[in-house]
Structure formats: structure tokens, C-alpha cells
Symmetry: C2
Subunit: 335 residues, 2 copies
């Protein structure tokens, strides 16, 4: 370690399922890890029990993982990498909190998949404004926390500042979890935000009792609309065909772990969209993203038929009518 090398300590802000699994993953790779929970009460419980019962029951954090909370002085002190594993709706606040507390030379790795619900900005823009000049990257891909925590094989994509991206790759790359570097940050961010919305539609299809044929069609058309939005935003098509695009979309639309898929299923079953997150006990980012995504698409002159029907369903349109309108809308050509 030279004087210029960033400190090896990894501070993970946010003790949800993915933050906890990420802490475990990094600790398993030998990094010193501090898990910074959002409340002192959560930090106390996790520090005492070494498990996170609400989000990742049955997974034990090694003693080497230090646990603290955002209220603690020095929560980010000495950390060379700050990993933000928080819902999109608090990213702006967490970025404002983190910026003055970060050690010189530290970088930010964002795990959040969404847009800023207040402004519709990409989260790299939110972090860039709160912490100008701080290297930023994001990690995406088909990475259900439960499976990563169990050491199941998975692969992720890191995009952002090149040196930081390579550092994250070096930190995480192992036999079970493989990391690829992608230089299309805009594409990776839009994939991550948009796939949650398509997953809500896939869950609605499941909830109405439709089968695998219908869902495969939805996923295919979902990737096409995501790709169109990306193209209009300067992203690369290849990103959408890769792990951060197609890979994460398929996992999110088909897995029983997926909260967004489950949100669609619950709405199709008659639960009010307003009550979905309480029932899930977790955030379904697609519910926060969909309207901002449609605004972005409208500014870019791109149509997102699936996302538009998800927005309509969230606003109260009967799910049967949404799916019927979607299925009967014949695209002129397949793409």
C-alpha cells in the first residue's frame, strides 16, 4: 500500500438485503468492512445478533464486519470505498450526508437501481452534484442478494470512473462472483432503472394467471423498449444485450426473489399500489421509477408502451385492461 493508494476499508451504507450481502461478499474476499446501518437501533441489533432478520434472515455476518450507523461520528472515517446500498428516494440525502464525511481519495460505489424520484435524474448525476470530483461507479447485473449471500454463482457489471471500476472488479472478483467492467455508465444506469418497471408488468402477467409464453413476449418487448430509450440517451445497444440489461431483466422478471415482479403480482391481485411496499416489507424501486422514466422517454421522443401501462396500473387503471391494451397493441415490426 503506497501513500497514494486508497484505504482498503469498505464502508457499506445501508443495511438492507443487498447492502448486507455486499458486506458479506467483500468480507469474504478479505476486505475490512464496516456496515453503516441507517438507524442506531438496526445497527445495535445487527451488531449483537450478527444477522439482519428483516432483510436477510439466516445469513451470518462474520465478526470481522464492523457495524455502526449513520448517526455515529466517523461512520465513513478511513474508508477508501463508500458503497451506497440505499433506496433511490434517499440517495440525494445520503449523498449530501456522505460528501463531507468521506476521506480524501475515497470513491463511491452505488448499488441503487432507479432514478431520483424527485428530479428524475440518474443517480450518478445526484452523486456528482453532491460530491463533485469524487470518483463514482455503480454495480449492476442479475444479483439477487439472497443468492449472492449463499455464495451461489453470479456475475455483475461495474461502470463509471475507470480506475475505480477496476478497483471494484479487483475487490469482488472471485470464483463465485465475477465482475465485468463496462464503460457505458448511462446505459447501465438506465437498464437498472427500466428493468424494474418491466418486472412489474411481468408480475402483473403472472398475477392474472398468464403463462410463460406471455411473459417471454413481455420480456422481449420490454428489452426492446429499454434499448430504444438507451439509444436516445446516448447509451450503447450492447449494454442492453448484456448482463446489466437482458441478464438483470430476465432475473428480475422470472425470479421469486424479485420484489418488483412480486409488486406487479400483488397489484394484479387487487392490492392498492400504495400498500404494496408495506406488504413486501421492502422497497419496489419500479414503483418510484416509472413516472420519471416516462418523463425521460417523452423528452427523448421515445415510446415505452409497457412502462406506460405499468404507470396506468399504478394510477388505478384495472390491470386486466392494461394487459389487454398491451397485448392488442400490434407493433408494426418486431423491434
Amino acid at each position: 500500500v503506497t501513500a497514494d493508494a486508497p484505504a482498503p476499508l469498505v464502508a457499506v451504507v445501508g443495511g438492507g438485503s443487498w447492502g448486507t450481502a455486499f458486506a458479506l461478499l467483500a468480507a469474504g474476499r478479505g476486505a475490512p468492512v464496516r456496515l453503516v446501518c441507517r438507524t442506531p437501533a438496526q445497527a445495535e441489533r445487527v451488531a449483537r445478533d450478527r444477522v439482519n432478520p428483516a432483510y436477510l434472515p439466516g445469513v451470518r455476518l462474520p465478526e470481522s464486519v464492523e457495524v455502526t450507523s449513520m448517526d455515529a461520528p466517523g461512520a465513513l472515517a478511513g474508508a477508501g470505498l463508500v458503497v451506497a446500498a440505499v433506496p433511490s428516494r434517499v440517495v440525494a440525502d445520503v449523498a449530501a450526508w456522505a460528501a463531507p464525511r468521506m476521506a480524501p481519495g475515497a470513491g463511491v460505489l452505488s448499488l441503487t437501481k432507479g432514478l431520483d424520484p424527485r428530479t428524475g435524474r440518474r443517480l450518478s448525476e445526484v452523486w456528482g452534484q453532491a460530491a463533485p470530483g469524487v470518483p463514482f461507479a455503480m454495480l449492476s447485473g442479475p444479483n439477487h442478494a439472497e443468492e449472492v449471500a449463499e455464495g451461489q454463482p453470479a456475475a455483475g457489471v461495474v461502470a463509471g470512473e475507470p480506475a475505480l471500476s477496476r478497483r471494484v472488479q479487483g475487490l469482488l472478483n472471485g470464483a463465485a462472483f465475477r465482475v465485468y467492467v463496462n464503460d457505458d455508465l448511462t446505459g447501465v444506469e438506465l437498464c437498472a432503472a427500466a428493468k424494474n418497471v418491466v418486472a412489474i408488468a411481468a408480475g402483473m402477467s403472472d398475477g392474472l394467471g398468464f403463462g410463460d409464453n406471455a411473459k417471454a413476449g413481455l420480456i422481449t418487448r420490454g428489452l426492446a423498449e429499454m434499448t430504444r430509450l438507451g439509444r436516445a440517451s446516448g447509451a450503447r445497444d450492447a449494454t442492453f444485450r448484456g448482463l446489466a440489461g437482458m441478464g438483470d431483466l430476465v432475473a428480475t422478471c422470472t425470479s421469486h426473489h424479485s420484489r418488483n415482479r412480486r409488486a406487479g403480482e400483488l397489484i394484479a391481485g387487487g392490492l392498492r399500489p400504495h400498500d404494496v411496499e408495506a406488504r413486501l416489507g421492502q422497497v419496489a424501486e419500479g414503483l418510484w421509477t416509472v413516472d420519471r422514466l416516462l418523463e425521460l422517454a417523452a423528452r427523448s421522443g421515445v415510446e415505452l408502451p409497457i412502462s406506460a401501462e405499468v404507470a396506468a396500473a399504478v394510477a388505478g387503471k384495472p390491470v386486466e385492461a392494461c394487459m389487454r391494451d398491451l397485448m392488442s397493441r400490434a407493433p408494426a415490426i418486431e423491434e
Copy 2:
């Protein structure tokens, strides 16, 4: 109906699950349908019971569907469309049987997803040689027979001779089943053949207890290798991103209806590949396709890492070693 218009009778050759479901679909759209079973015994049973217990139990064929067998004289007499719903390994024989029996002006619609196991040729080439000058098209896409028979929403892709393709679209297009015409027959054929092989790999991943993250990664890399093969064969990338490519791949890799996925699962569970079809009671086309697909790829100078490991597993390599070798093979770039 003018003197030049093809006769409306649809003869479906092959009383397996998809042939039976197709007969039901066409009959439901008002077409006169004759189901031509491969043996008189099967034809007798289906004609008597109006169900096909071995392949599509619980689905009742309307009385309007005529049932006969390939042994009957005039099995194809008066049919304007001959639909071939038979396994790839008998396509050459069925084409040779059908060619002299077809009415003038009749076309062939193939439902088979594979290559000729003896020669590796695409099935359009097999039909073209047996029945030169006869219009040919194929129907593909995420179309699990069980769901189509239940009237679940689904979409398919028809490719081949343009007028015949549009005729098939007109015949089948309805509220529940939507048909898109694609002019890239080579692409649609290669998608259909290759996706079954990737689905065997996906089933192996399932059989080893790997989760949704790993499978989403396999599906993503599977589509990339399919697309590379298509590109080298003059097919269009867009076909691989569409319903016949990505759509069918996702359905086949994730559905509990999928025989090819199930074949991989059984092999991972220790069943000898030789015994898989007996256990399934149905054909798993990927087992017949994989070696021919790899030969085609080798001639085109394309690598198919997933298909190569499936071939190795079918030849006796332990599935754990196949999956380990696949996961540890780091692509230089994502595509």
C-alpha cells in the same frame, strides 16, 4: 375463393403436443383441420376419445377436427396447407412421404425446432430438397403447447415464403395468439435450433441447485453465442433480439413446461443422457441438435462455449465440471 386460392383445409402431420395444440388453434379460428397422426393406433385413440392423453391430456379436440394417420390413403388430399409438427430426426422421412402426396398449390408450414440430425442441414433445406418449388415457412417463438391449447396469450413468428407467411398470419392471428412475419428464415431457424441447446445448459444449472442469477447469466451469454452464429450465417441480429430468439430462449430456459430445460436438469441429476427421452416421454430436440450445431459453428469459425459444454455433458463429462469450466471462462468483453 377463386380457382387459384389454396384450399382452406389444414392438414397437421404429427399428433404430439404442439401438433395437437396447433390443430386446436387453427380449428378455433374456423379453419377445417385434419390431424394426421403418425400411427393408425394413435389416430384411432384420438378419434375415439378426442383427447391426446400422452401429449396434451385434458385438452379436448372439437368434433370438427378430422383425425387420420399417415398410413391412410389421401392423408394430405385436398389440403392447402401441410403443417409438419414432427421431431427433427424424422423430418427428412416425413418430407419424402409428403412431397408426392401434396395437392398442387399447397404450402408447407414446419413447426419443428432443430436441424437435420443426420446432415446438420437446416430443415428448410431438407424440405426444399424433398419438395422443390413447394412454398415453405416455419412458425417459431415462445409457444409452449400446453398454454396455447388453454387459450393463454402468446405470440409467434412466421418466416419463409412471403405469400405463405402472410397466409399463415391470417390463419392464426387472433386475440390470444398473435403472429408476426419475419423475413429472416435462416435467423428464425437457427434461433429455434440453438435455443434448445442453451435450455439444456439452463436446466443443468437448475439441476445443480444454482439460482436465478446464474441462470440469467447463462441465458444472456447464450443469446450472445446464438447471435454470433447467426451473424456468421447471414442472419439478422434483430431476429435474435426478437420473439423467435430472445423470447423463445427465455421461455424455454425458465418454463417448467420446457422439455429441453428438464433434460438438462435430469442429466445434472445423474440420469444418463441416453435415457432422458424415455423419462420425459417426449423428444428433447437440443440433444439431437447440439453436435450438428457445433459443426456448423466450426465451419463458420464461431465459438459456442455453452453449447460445447452441453455437448461434453451429453458425451459423459460430469455436469459440475461443465458448469465450472463455463463459469470460470471469462469473456474478454461482455458480448
